[in-house]
């Protein structure tokens, strides 16, 4: 038999509906489409049942390498996900719901997103957050645009130690706009804001940094924030939410806009998406926040309720004058983030962050003890750090991949002078035994 089509009406019902419409047959309904406009081709395979489809998908998934041990980040991280996250986010009342434009029948989504905004503000040390953006990279780009709007300036300084993919997205977003984007070459592995401070001037809308940076180094951003504010510029900081269990929040260091990718908060790797981007900042800038924002209010009986608010900033009202073109965001992923943060709670998040750092420090010591391997970071790190090898990182990574270990992200493609270095990520999922094996295999790859 043919595939599924999820069209419920029986031939008899179709007949009765055609009669009601006054059409002879279905083709009759497509009369407005003249033959000349009809599809020239529609060459797709025949359909199949869900069982056959799933069998095919299992085969497809099976063509990926199974059980790789991940020491790679690059913006996505292999973290634990409590069972409650999947169970609750799988409620069809959440995942098959529409955008909550009709507040009365959408209080579930609306309240959850209000709670999400609150959780993001508290985690990042900010006052207002939106209800999510697409991902960490696009959130960084939106933050840059937001800073341009707020300051009315057109120059942006971006730290070269920001995730290269995110810098690329930023450049793409800005390419057609009248903006000067100044990228400052990083001092890899060092906490050093001198270069960035030096690049600031009173035409600068914002300085854009990442903490921990792409090499894993943590910085105190307060000095940079003060300096930026001194010239009327904003500090935009991209943060890794898991680190915020123990690391001082960007907001408390003076960042004006905080963004990041929420994948680590309860969203699976899923080959790169969906995750969510968060953006948060100062109350005074709320009207310049892109995307949806949920606000608290009351109904006519005085009952607390939540609504999409400040919609006049949005594209469906403001059209080409909107703060952003964003319409669909990543609600369900943000919900997963909220459930994750609620399930772990204050102490859980602190403990999770400590576990990450403990394991990374262990790995740093063990890998650093491999002959010829040098840990680049002079400053403090969270769960990522950079090692430099006696040969190209590419060679080492290829050798270890064949042994089932994704050893790290080689820096050569992004920083041409660093082809012997790679960034290693160590999350709470990595066991001491895995780290030890990794070190042994790295030694083997380097010296055999």
């Amino acid at each position: 038999m043919s595939g599924a089509d999820y069209c419920p009406n029986s031939p008899e019902e179709v007949r009765r509906m055609l009669d009601a419409v006054g059409a002879a047959d279905i083709d009759d309904l497509f009369r407005p489409v003249s033959p000349a406009l009809r599809a020239k081709s529609f060459n797709l395979p025949p359909g199949m049942s869900e069982f056959e489809m799933l069998h095919r998908f299992q085969t497809l998934a099976g063509r990926n390498a199974q059980g790789l041990v991940h020491f790679v980040g690059g913006g996505f991280h292999d973290h634990l996900i409590p069972a409650v996250v999947d169970h609750l986010a799988s409620r069809p009342e959440f995942y098959t719901a529409y955008t909550p434009y009709q507040p009365e029948c959408s209080q579930g989504t609306l309240q959850a997103l209000f709670e999400y905004q609150t959780a993001i503000c508290r985690l990042t040390g900010t006052e207002v957050a939106n209800a999510s953006l697409y991902d960490g990279g696009t959130a960084l780009a939106e933050a840059a645009l937001m800073a341009l709007r707020i300051t009315g300036r057109s120059r942006l300084v971006v730290d070269g130690a920001v995730n290269p993919f995110h810098r690329e997205i930023l450049a793409t977003y800005l390419a057609n706009l009248d903006v000067e984007l100044v990228e400052i070459a990083p001092k890899a592995g060092m906490e050093d804001d001198v270069r960035l401070r030096a690049a600031l001037d009173d035409a600068t809308a914002a300085v854009i940094v990442q903490n921990p940076d792409f090499f894993g180094t943590l910085s105190d951003l307060s000095g940079l924030a003060a300096e930026a504010h001194g010239v009327g510029a904003l500090l935009v900081a991209s943060a890794y939410p898991i680190s915020l269990g123990i690391v001082r929040s960007p907001g408390s260091m003076g960042a004006d806009i905080v963004v990041g990718d929420g994948q680590s908060l309860g969203n699976p790797l899923s080959f790169g998406g969906p995750s969510f981007g968060f953006i948060a900042g100062r109350r005074e800038h709320i009207r310049n926040l892109p995307g949806r924002i949920i606000g608290e209010t009351v109904d006519r009986n005085g009952t607390r309720g939540f609504v999409l608010t400040l919609q006049a900033r949005e594209q469906h009202i403001k059209r080409h004058k909107a703060t952003s073109n964003i319409c669909s965001n990543q609600s369900l992923c943000a919900l997963r983030g909220l459930i994750f943060l609620s399930a772990l709670g204050s102490e859980g998040m602190a403990e999770l962050a400590r576990l990450n750092r403990d394991k990374a420090e262990y790995a740093k010591a063990v890998l650093g003890a491999v002959p010829g391997v040098e840990v680049l970071n002079s400053g403090f790190t969270f769960n990522e750090f950079t090692v430099c090898l006696p040969k190209t990182a590419e060679e080492a990574v290829v050798a270890l991949l064949r042994k089932g270990v994704a050893a790290g992200v080689p820096l050569g493609p992004y920083y041409p002078d660093m082809e012997k270095c790679m960034v290693v990520t160590v999350t709470e999922k990595r066991t001491r035994a895995e780290i030890d094996t990794f070190a042994r295999q790295l030694e083997g790859a380097l010296w055999n």
Binding site: F30, L44, P45, E168, P268, T303, G305, C327, D358
Partner: protein, 481 residues
């Protein structure tokens, strides 16, 4: 209902973490360390479960309610799609970007490539990128491609033309790319006014953004002519794929002259809306734009394996972190795989039948500004009811109490008191009949007791909220932020 933060009790713990197997690291210095644990809810696992389960029950959703939501294609989200996507949950997107890493990700890369190929065939385009993460993101990407093309050609372009019936994302996306917007009004016959269109078209126009059928559900018979006019001015034609469900297997935008299209996988291809996202907005292009597509690109080698190549030097660059909202893409590919050629044709046929059925059954009680055979949606006006003081929004709230998500109201902007209805193909005649009955009852009540609408809805956790207060107070974060 209490917030999860209001349920917090100091010292309460939820999910436990694994024991550490290494020694604790020395502490971070004061300048880098957080002042105490983050102020998150301190609740038990059962608290979390009850809270979010109860919250979920305060929503309408496709699995519980019919959503006759114009321009949003809220069709049934097959459960098998969820299972399909889960199969790919453990795979890291950096792996194929590592040296020689593609051979460790052949399954995922094959899916990205296979979906792109299927979408190209469905839309009549030559190449597809799945990187854009939502429809509007796809629009922006598409306009960026057009901008890159014009720049490469040395064309000086300044404007993007949109009909006044267009989705708000169209002008917003064009503006994100730095274009100015020219809006063309709709003619009395329901399509973009052809003469006025001609009048605005100059060599400074970079692109014309259209959806066809348009947001009135009408298929524009002059669509090829419109494309030709644009091309005569070196402007490219952008197809907003929001309404693609109407024409699957019937019309391919690529065939009629469009150069770029974005597709909403979460509309046409049956992936769930998630309460507002994640969506996925792949972009298809004709050959002339292929070299500008963002990277990384997945290509099929002659040996049948897949490789990842960085974007070309002409490319617009990168629009998102990795390969797109892969989980959503997996669901859409599963959907296309299950339905196949015949199933997808069924989709557009039944969607159009359902919309025409609703139109036929309601046009005696609601004004129908454009009375023609519609495609997948129809747009009524509550103007007649408004004369009694019953507005489209009042009818919307009436429907909530009857167990229906309201249609889209007040859009398209060109119809006064618009009520825009898209039933989709997955709803049965019985469901449509029940909805029609409710709509007729609303019209009836609007005649007999218009004042009754003010109190509605009654059956929800809240009745009409004070939106002005929300906008004024801007209380967007629970006390303590």
């Amino acid at each position: 209902m209490e917030l999860i933060f209001e349920k917090s009790v100091t010292g309460r713990r939820g999910v436990r973490l694994p024991a550490g197997d290494v020694s604790p690291a020395p502490p971070l210095p004061a300048a880098l360390v957080r002042d105490g644990a983050p102020d998150l809810p301190q609740v038990s696992e059962l608290d979390v479960v009850r809270h979010f389960t109860t919250l979920s029950r305060r929503n309408f959703s496709v699995d519980t309610h019919f959503y006759p939501l114009g321009s949003c294609t809220m069709k049934y989200n097959a459960k098998a799609l969820e299972e399909a996507a889960k199969l790919f949950a453990p795979y890291h997107p950096m792996v194929p970007l590592l040296p020689h890493g593609a051979s460790f990700s052949q399954g995922s890369l094959g899916l990205v490539h296979g979906l792109g190929e299927a979408l190209a065939e469905i839309t009549g385009m030559d190449e597809v990128t799945c990187q854009p993460l939502a429809g509007a993101h796809g629009e922006m990407t598409g306009i960026m491609l057009i901008a890159a093309y014009h720049e490469a050609q040395g064309n000086r372009k300044k404007y993007v033309v949109v009909p006044d019936s267009s989705h708000g994302t169209n002008p917003a996306s064009a503006a994100m790319v730095g274009y100015e917007i020219i809006t063309v009004p709709t003619a009395p016959y329901g399509d973009m006014d052809l003469e006025k269109y001609r009048a605005v078209m100059t060599d400074e126009v970079a692109a014309v953004m259209m959806t066809c059928p348009n947001t009135l559900g009408l298929f524009n018979p002059h669509i090829r002519e419109i494309c030709d006019i644009a091309h005569d001015h070196d402007a490219l034609m952008y197809y907003d794929g929001a309404n693609l469900n109407a024409i699957l297997g019937k019309v391919r935008p690529g065939d009629v002259g469009f150069d770029v299209i974005h597709v909403n996988l979460h509309k046409t291809f049956g992936t769930p809306h998630g309460g507002g996202g994640p969506g996925s907005g792949p972009v298809g292009v004709k050959k002339l734009l292929a070299s500008y597509l963002p990277g990384p690109r997945v290509v099929k080698n002659s040996d049948g394996d897949y490789s990842v190549i960085p974007h070309s030097h002409e490319s617009i660059g990168r629009t998102a972190g990795f390969f797109g909202n892969f989980g959503v893409m997996a669901k859409a590919f599963a959907y296309i795989t299950m339905l196949g050629q015949e199933g997808l044709i069924q989709v557009s046929e039944q969607a159009v039948l359902n919309a025409n059925y609703i139109m036929a059954r309601l046009k005696d009680v609601y004004d129908l500004p454009y009375d023609q055979t519609c495609m997948h949606e129809c747009v009524f006006s509550a103007a007649r009811q408004a004369r009694n003081g019953v507005h489209a929004i009042d009818i919307a709230k009436f429907l909530i109490d009857r167990g229906f998500h309201p249609p889209t109201v007040y859009f398209p902007l060109i119809v006064k008191e618009a009520i825009m209805i898209e039933p989709t193909e997955t709803e049965s005649k019985e469901t449509l009949d029940a909805f029609i009955e409710a709509m007729r009852d609303a019209a009836d009540l609007a005649e007999k007791d218009p004042a009754a609408f003010a109190e509605l809805p009654r059956t929800m956790p809240i009745t009409r909220p004070d939106e002005t207060r929300a906008a004024r107070e801007q209380n967007v974060c629970y006390f303590g932020c």
